[in-house]
Amino acid sequence: MTRRPGPAAAVLALATLLAAFAGVRFGPVAFTGEEFLSILLGGGDPLDRFFVLELRLPRVVLGLLVGGGLALAGAVFQALLRNPLAEPYILGISGGAAAGAVGVLALGLAGAASWYLPGAAFAGALLAIALVFGVAASADRRLDVRVLLLSGVVVGAFFSAVIALVLALSDAPTVRGAVMWMMGSLSGASWRTVGIVAAYTVPAGLFLLALARPLNLMAIGEDTASYLGTNVEGTKRIAYGVASLVAAAGVAFVGVIGFVGLVVPHGVRLVVGPDHRILLPLSALAGGGFLVLADLGARTVFAPTEIPIGVITAFVGVPFFLLLLRRSLRA
């Protein structure tokens, strides 16, 4: 059971770096190595420069941030809720965000100002978080994680019904736009969105990394965590709140990207073990790299048509995860 995380960390860091490079280097518009090098060195055709430095690079950075944030939030939720099925969206966050986004799309306001869509999605996610938290905290002065999980699922179901109602009353293009949004895409990336998401994700992520030891204890059990020095109620509230915000910030700008938050932490845990001091940073790294690769696939596989990134994360993530699971069961 004692594992050495060094090699795994080195391989992951290298893979993420390569993924980021590939994400900038490749896309529907092809460059020769020479052209690409001159762009990086500050030369090249202005339009080409725009493609690489203003479209692809922020897209890759946003992918790293959102993928890393989702995987980190997933790892935190799995420990906090003591449930391997927990992921960032199980607490109704995606449902709330999607309801907000679909509302804006149905009202035809998405084009009116660039921040309407992410703003509404973020507001929807916050509403869902507040609802779920309110229900789970009112049962007792303590926060019951089972109630948290249940109320999350129920709140999510409610927002799904809201979305279904709105879509049923909308015209076909709106429905298509809503479905595409809900499957997730990094196509809205710009340096401005990168800035906003980074302002949330980086400090929140660092904070969550510092919760590694309390989370190790929470995964053992709440009473034991308490007897080993953890402020259990405080840890639950702050970790739930911060991890939810990280997920909400991501989902607001890129839509619902399933699977990263569920599968990446499990995959990393199977390789490096359950210690969150290692699991959390490596999950963030792997989640970022995975999403950047998935986005590269989304842009290039059916180019020039871009497919939803959620399709890629599931198509690649499912077999990979099943393979990893099988290997770990045999070992």
């Binding site: 004692t2 799995q78 510092a210 030891r213 204890l217 053992i220 007897y227 080993l228 020095g229 359950p274």
Partner: protein
């Protein structure tokens, strides 16, 4: 380290009767203090009350003379090691990793474990005879092995007091005797030990004082000879018994009659 509870009453939400009613106890430093009583008599609730993981309806707990509320959770964990009855990790974890968590209260959020931390973890594993399974997954252990691992974690805390809830419930004779001798030895070294157990004879043999709970109330308290009276035990357990004195150990023994 002194553990005191005064007039402790605990009522779980929705329960008609309190699970613990007006129980007081005073555990002097360096004593091995056993808490006895039938199933559901409030033993585990008393442990949770003393450790502040269940809200009190009445009463107050003092640890080292200081009210429990004045203790920071982390300071308390540096001073008191606790072993609960059950525990199940949400994800697979190794024996050494689990025992090493006993050092968390001393390390805080960020500090890395040092040589002394590692020594304490290895020593605790040796004392509980789990060092040979250090690299195994806790999920593959037997019930008794898992209990010994969790006792080792409490020892790794290097505490001044230990509170253990039926720590020997699944242990074989040898390991049960080893753990009881370990607890006796710890008490002789000045560590306060509060032991919840169903093993009346072993409690009478190893403990300095006993507390007998019945239906959440204090039924008897005192030395083993004072508490082990047939009429008291019969009333609390609802079964006829005879109390003898074991010639070999000099401690009272309980024989359930048929």
């Amino acid at each position: 380290m002194r553990l005191q509870g005064k007039n402790l009453t605990v009522r779980y939400p929705g329960a008609p009767h309190p699970s613990l009613e007006a129980v007081s106890l005073d555990v002097a430093p360096g004593t091995l203090y056993a808490v006895l009583g039938p199933n559901g008599s409030g033993k585990s609730t008393l442990m949770r009350a003393l450790l502040g993981t269940v809200p009190l309806e009445t009463g107050e707990v003092k640890i080292d003379g200081l009210p429990l509320e004045a203790w920071r959770r982390r300071d308390l964990a540096q001073a008191v090691g606790a072993v609960t009855q059950h525990e199940s990790a949400a994800f697979p974890i190794g024996v050494r990793e689990l025992v090493a968590m006993g050092r968390y209260p001393h390390l805080g959020t960020l500090r890395a474990p040092g040589d002394r931390d590692r020594e304490l973890v290895e020593a605790a594993m040796i004392r509980c005879d789990v060092d040979h399974m250090a690299d195994r997954d806790v999920g593959t252990l037997s019930g008794g092995e898992h209990q010994r691992v969790r006792i080792a974690r409490a020892l790794a805390q290097d505490p001044r007091a230990l509170i253990l809830d039926e720590p020997t419930a699944s242990l074989d004779i040898r390991h049960e005797m080893e753990i009881l001798r370990l607890l006796r030895h710890s008490a002789d070294q000045g560590i306060t030990v509060l032991l919840i157990t169903h093993h009346l004879d072993l409690a009478a043999r190893f403990a300095d004082r006993l507390l007998l709970l019945g239906c959440g109330r204090l039924a008897a308290e005192g030395s083993p000879a004072e508490v082990f009276r047939a009429e008291v035990l019969e009333a609390v357990y609802g079964w006829p018994v005879e109390v003898l004195v074991d010639e070999r150990t000099g401690a009272p023994r309980v024989i359930p009659l048929s």
